[in-house]
Amino acid sequence: MSGVVIAETVRRHLTNGMFVSFAIVIALIAIGVSQYGQPGSAWPGFAVLLAVVTGAGVIGPEFSSGTLQLILVKPINRAVYLLSRVAGVVLLVWSVSAIAALCEIAGRALDGEVPWSLIGTALVNSMGDTLLVCALLALFGTFTRAYFNVALYFALQLTLALLVGLARRKFTPAIAQAVVAVEQNLFPDTPPRFDAEWLLLVASNAAIALVLASFIFRRREVPYGAE
């Protein structure tokens, strides 16, 4: 990992008005949840949305803008650069999730009892979810340009959801089971509890996605200048 790349990724986002506004909105939602909602609800979904928005720009836009060519003339390993960019984004999204959890805890503490387990579980699950989202977007970003990684992410999610529905009705149970397994590995449903097996699933799938991303990125030709 490169501390410089991580720090630059963090700095770039913290000076971005859109990112800061989104983070504030998530914190406000968490405060609202502490007064009116189920513990640990709503804000984890917005944290995933934030991961999609920030993860979209991990590598793809740098291909299109031509800045990647300039960066890669530096003596930095391509895989290290990619992983450091992902680490920076994940760190930021996790920080926003942690702030949201703290806001909910503060809001509930004012009213009396804090359901530590439920909020803690929501935070840990949200961290798992956002890690996988960022890793998948980084993987898709290594073989697409600009923000096509997000388009690919949603297209794949939609296609798999449709295939699962179709497979359950039309195909044999074995095929349906296989389609569900693919769908649940790429886009696993977040459990409403602490589940070590689910956490290992998202962490290992994120690691595999990053390994694949590193392999693709190290072989990819980087074009000169902006498109």
């Binding site: 003596p75 930095i76 391509r78 895989a79 387990s117 290992l200 690691a207 390994v211 590193s214 392999f215």
Partner: protein, 154 residues
């Protein structure tokens, strides 16, 4: 840095991915082998067994989407000591609500929910073989709450 170095394989990441995968496989098999915990019966099995025993039935009205239900699972039913106690003193029957997932419940689940007036989850009902309610616990605020209700039924 040479061109080859710039494009070298991230060995550490490969090792991390392999270790995580291995841990996933090991945990999966460990869980499959783990037979400890509450031995849940179906509604039919539970009532059948209660008729030939003097133990009360413990109905656990739960739902997959219900977070406090999973907390109850983790803090009470997954505890080996408490689970052994429950298996010894009661006939545990799990009644899972599928209204949200399937749009409706099976007639047995719907009838039992209506009989005991279950409106939220988790709800634990202690009842005899004639389905006469002896105690009830609604919601879950900690292991102590469950232990108190259990004492009440003894």
């Amino acid at each position: 840095m040479a061109r080859n170095d710039q494009r070298s394989v991230p060995i550490t990441l490969l090792v991390v991915a392999a270790v995580l995968l291995l841990a996933r496989v090991v945990l999966h098999f460990n869980r499959a082998d783990d037979a400890s915990g509450v031995k849940w019966l179906t509604i039919e099995q539970g009532i059948e067994r209660a008729r030939s025993s003097d133990k009360p039935i413990l109905f656990d009205f739960t739902a997959e989407w219900c977070a406090p239900c999973h907390l109850l699972d983790a803090q009470v039913f997954a505890d080996p000591k408490l689970a052994a106690e429950i298996n010894r003193q009661f006939i545990p029957v799990r009644v899972t609500d599928r209204q949200q997932e399937d749009g409706r419940n099976t007639p047995e689940v719907a009838a039992l929910q209506q009989r005991f007036g279950v409106t939220g989850f988790p709800t634990l009902i202690f009842a005899d073989a004639m389905l006469t309610e002896r105690a009830r616990m609604e919601g879950f605020s900690g292991r102590r709450q469950f232990e108190q209700v259990m004492k009440q039924v003894r």
